[in-house]
């Protein structure tokens, strides 16, 4: 696989027997010998370790960093307390989503984690908008690990007892196996757990010490995808992109009141006119959960219809798979808002056949965060 980048954990993945695939310009483990289904179930039952070092880590420094970031995202950055993290998204002039991200207030700087496929564009956007008042540092000498699942707390607390005290979306600097790590209590599986930014040269040793815990197993991108879909979480480039607004994507909860019409810092981000109008008046379409009634998975691209035959497609599946915990097929997609109510009967066309599917509440499996 020429021209693909490798994370600091590449050799370890091979030693663990991973099947490597190209993903967002990186050679990444899609699964280990355990297989996608068992990896998924293990993460929900105990704990899984994910290499997410392909994701972008960025630091913003400067007295106006929070104000500056608020010009690019519709979130309350200034009001985010020290040691706390928040979910956000970069928007464009049309109200679409350019990328989604996590940002944390780490005292004298903001720490951002952005998607691998968007990181170059994100860094360029941040530099163009914020420099020179704000220093934009793209971190290339750190790996990123995620430890997820009900046993994640016990496994990580074995190395640093203080992580047990952290609550969902707390961030802290923690010494793990002798390395200075930036830890957040968050993740993208619907489970309790941590994301750990670790110096590249200390990453393998930390991963190995975590994997030496009998409760922890390595998890590939395959199970990462089914875990996040069961948790109702969006995958950028699939469920959200530059053409979907946060309101259509059912992410309005991520726009704090203060940035909405009538709020103290209303608007002032790209596409604010479109997004704030949609928050007030609704959007023509909405991202929903979809549960096929049969056993056939409805994959990304499946067209959605109102009737069992005839008519034009009204929507489309943006993520679809079999849910190992759900033990049934599951999907997310966009439908007209008037058809977005839970329980609405629709049809997905799979291999020329219209199969019944119902609009369902998200997440498909209950979240297990440590609030």
């Amino acid at each position: 696989m020429a021209d693909l980048l490798r994370t600091p954990l590449y050799d370890m993945h091979l030693e663990l027997g991973a099947k490597m695939v190209p993903f967002a310009g990186y050679e990444m483990p899609v699964q280990y010998p355990l297989g996608v289904m068992k990896e998924h179930l293990h993460c929900r039952a105990q704990a899984g370790l994910f290499d997410v070092s392909h994701m972008g880590q960025v630091i913003l420094r400067g007295a106006t960093a929070a104000e500056g970031l608020e010009r690019l995202i519709p979130q309350d950055v200034i009001g985010l307390g020290e040691g706390r993290q928040r979910y956000g998204f970069f928007t464009n002039a049309h109200g679409g989503i350019e990328d989604d991200l996590m940002f944390a207030n780490r005292g004298d700087h903001l720490f951002l984690v952005v998607n691998a496929g968007c990181k170059a564009t994100d860094v360029a956007r941040l530099r163009a908008a914020l420099e020179p008042e704000v220093q934009v540092d793209y971190i290339v000498d750190r790996a990123l690990l995620a430890l997820q699942g009900p046993a994640a707390e016990a496994a990580l607390a074995a190395l640093a007892p203080e992580v047990a005290e952290m609550r969902f979306m707390d961030v802290a600097t923690v010494s793990l196996n002798g390395a200075e790590c930036w830890v957040s209590r968050s993740g993208y599986t619907g489970e309790d757990g941590y994301e750990i930014s670790v110096p590249a040269e200390a990453a393998v040793a930390l991963a190995q010490i975590l994997l030496a815990d009998a409760r922890v197993t390595p998890i590939g991108l395959g199970a990462r995808d089914s875990l996040r879909l069961e948790a109702g979480l969006c995958l950028y480039g699939h469920d959200i992109d530059a053409t979907t607004s946060p309101v259509e994507a059912a992410l309005s909860w991520g726009v704090q009141k203060l940035r909405r019409a009538g709020g103290a810092r209303a608007g002032g981000f790209p596409g604010a006119d479109v997004i704030l109008a949609q928050i007030a008046d609704g959007a023509p379409r909405k991202r929903v959960g979809l549960l096929p009634e049969g056993r056939a998975p409805m994959r990304e691209g499946t067209e959605i219809f109102a009737q069992a035959d005839g008519g034009a497609p009204l929507g489309r599946v943006t993520s679809g798979a079999f849910g190992p915990t759900l033990q049934a097929p599951m999907a997310m997609g966009y439908v007209p808002s008037e058809m977005s109510q839970t329980g609405t009967q629709l049809f997905g066309e799979v291999r020329g056949k219209r199969l019944p599917v119902r609009v369902a509440a998200l997440p498909f499996t209950p979240a297990n965060f440590k609030r």
């Binding site: 996608v36 068992k38 056993r295 998975p297 079999f322 097929p329 291999r351």
Partner: protein
């Protein structure tokens, strides 16, 4: 036992041909979560797509290896798709067909040739 390049195995049994997928195919597919089989009594043409297998990764087709009639399908793998991973050469056969033309069997691989084929 004969093997196709599509990773199906064919076994003669009481004048019928029993068809399933190979262990190699089931490993490559990963965990199978859905199987769609043809109706019993369907007349099929060689290379026609007649079954769908969906795994956690993707959907793939099974082609009719011969012309003929589908006389029996295996409901077990519809009810428990994971059997395709557990016992692809045994319990998890897909269908039995009554061939109208057995001549393609000559071209299909024997076990040694198939082992070489999958490397």
């Amino acid at each position: 036992m004969k093997y196709t390049e599509e990773h199906e195995w064919l076994r003669e049994e009481d004048g019928l041909i029993v068809v399933g997928i190979t262990e190699h195919a089931s490993e490559q597919l990963g965990d199978v979560v859905f199987v769609d089989l043809p109706e019993e009594g369907t007349e099929v043409t060689k290379d026609e797509e007649i079954c769908v297998i969906e795994s956690v990764k993707a959907a793939s087709d099974i082609l009719a290896p011969l012309d003929g009639e589908i006389v029996e399908v295996n409901q077990l793998i519809v009810d428990e798709p994971s059997k395709v991973n557990d016992d692809p050469l045994g319990d998890a056969w897909f269908f039995k067909m009554k061939p109208s033309d057995l001549s393609p069997m000559e071209d299909y691989m024997d076990e040694a040739a198939y082992k070489k084929f999958v490397g």
